[in-house]
Amino acid sequence: MLIAKISAIIIFLIMFACIVTEAFERHITTLVSGALTLSIVFGICMRSTDAIIRTLNYKSFATLEFWYGGGESSGINWATIIFIAGMTVMVEGMGHAGFFDWLCLKIAKLVNYKTVALLICFMIMSAVLAMFIDSITVIMFLAAVTITLAHTLKFDPIPIILAEIFCANLGGSATMCGDPPNIIIGTALGYSFFDFLSNTGVIVGICLIFTIIYFYLVMRKPLLASENDRPADITYPNAEDAIKSKKGFIAVVIVFAIIVTLLVTHSITEITVASIGIIAIILTSIAIVFAFDFKTLKEVFKKVDYKTLLFFVGLFVVVSGLEETGCLEVVAEFIAKVSGGNPYVMVAIIIWLSAICSAFVDNIPFAATMVPVIQSMAVTTGIPLETLAWTLALGTDIGGSATPIGASANVVGTSLATKAGHPVTWGKYCKYNAPATVIVVSICTIALFVLHL
């Protein structure tokens, strides 16, 4: 077993190093690491067919709980993968119909293109959209519109884009489907959308108020100054022009409304997120074919990020290698020992460790690794698993905002800004978003102490 443990750790560390340095594409790294885990750790070292079957978890498809009712999951978390696939198809459909551009431009017009009002509205919109849609998509559309408006209205888009990035990560932590770590935590531990909303969601709501105040205070002066320099003869972009097909637009909005309703009520209806993912794929396909044609549907499916889905498959296998060999129990015991069994210290360690790690490395492998750790900690220390789950979710999701490489939204947002001639350096990024992260993680720590301990 010792050799199995060592092999699992080595594979994990090499995988992590390859992900951080991007030596290979992420999905290649995790799939090869997953194959090595299956063959070396489970096959050669443990000689355990059961461990392989548990990890591949293919039998779960045939169970009723996978589609209806739900429960905890181990090995490859197929529910996460199907759900992400479904949401990606839906979001691509919405983007194709022009929904996001329309929404951004409509709001800009509603606030009469006032830059400070734009900052606040786009921050709220970023947070709210990221509750349901992946943060990369949210930032891709919001940043693009912000840059367009900045060029038209002559203001520096960087402060607003940085605030949008921060809020997308913050909003994502409010719900189960907002950020990949939450989907992993929720599906692995059997929590619903509503469980997240009523726990992390409440804390995020409080944090959002402080975040808006922070960015308002930090950024209002340059934004207000830009309004004075604004040229008089401006042709404002028309929101309606963003809509490619009115029929398609209405169809995808209806699909979005149905999926959001299913997510919000899935703890009552007991329809699992895997089923919601399948429903999203089917309804979006119908909507696209109805409003456009099969060719458009093919285009939408082509845009789905299959590499990310494969990345998850490999990742879950590698983490199962650590779990099956008992490595993660050692980590759990170590954290419990360091904290001396004090729940306040334990929560503080988990949230700050998660936040700091997520600021520099990919938070998805981190969260996937930490789920079995907190499960083990809950058993050995008696702290409610829910408390540790919310702590982990908030730490991994919000911590990623601190640096330009901490989360996918940061990478895409800063990339778009730089390509548009507004380069975002590490210094510039961290000047605004690192203090905001420290403030918000501190608020989360206090809120977790008060509400959950």
């Binding site: 951080v20 340095t21 991007e22 990369i136 990020d305 330009p404 490489i405 996918s408 940061n410 990478v411 895409v412 800063t414 990339s415 778009l416 730089t418 390509k419 548009a420 001639g421 507004h422 380069p423 975002v424 350096t425 590490w426």
Partner: protein, 206 residues
């Protein structure tokens, strides 16, 4: 777009090998413009980049620890700037006009364009040191150190954005050592090569 008379010459050069002077002279003799750092910088400035900022990030490989890429987007300023320059090189080539491109991986970017001639300019180390020391008013050790630094940067930059090694003989059509021939002799040699190439290559029309 496709112009059979288009002359596309890329010049990759070691620091201090007189590569730029050779490119300028060749451009004058052939009557075609030389696209170099100054034009690349101008293009980046037109995109909104500050000149000092461009200098800081130009001709540098991506730092994999301080940047990430997701869904085809990277936040490496070095890579974004490099890709912007590569796109500019392709856009210029697509106009069908003739020109000489100096540095910035043009030998790689334009490798698939018909009739592109890839030239690498080298020179003996002592000559390079002497040129750099004279041009920049430096001592010999300072010039040696500057050459080492510049060549290392060019090598790393080329390695980061292309699949071939900088200076690898089988990647270029012609490798010229300017030590013996100087600027004029090297230019004559290249022009002779171009004439012979024109006669042999099906991509050219008289």
């Amino acid at each position: 777009m496709a112009n059979k008379n288009q002359v596309l010459i890329t010049i990759t050069r070691e620091y201090g090998s007189l590569g730029h002077k050779i490119a300028d002279q060749l451009g004058k003799d052939l009557g075609i413009p030389v696209v170099d750092k100054a034009l690349f910088f101008k293009m980046a400035e037109n995109h909104g980049f500050d000149p000092e900022f461009i200098k800081k990030y130009d001709e540098k490989p991506r730092n994999y620890l301080l940047s990430k890429s997701r869904k085809g987007h990277t936040n490496s300023i070095e890579q974004i700037l490099a890709e912007m320059i590569f796109k500019y090189q392709r856009d210029l080539a697509d106009t069908g006009e003739s020109f000489i491109m100096v540095g910035r991986c043009a030998d790689w970017t334009l490798r698939d364009y018909p009739g592109v001639i890839k030239i690498f300019i080298s020179a003996d180390k002592e000559d390079r040191i002497a040129h750099v020391a004279k041009e920049n008013n430096l001592t010999i050790p300072e010039a040696t150190s500057l050459i080492k630094k510049k060549d290392s940067n060019r090598l790393k930059y080329h390695k980061a954005y292309t699949d071939v090694d900088w200076g690898s003989p089988n990647h270029y059509n012609l490798i010229v050592n300017s030590s013996e021939l100087g600027v004029d002799g090297s230019v004559e040699l290249i022009k002779t090569y171009i004439e012979l190439y024109k006669k042999k290559s099906p991509n050219w029309e008289d």
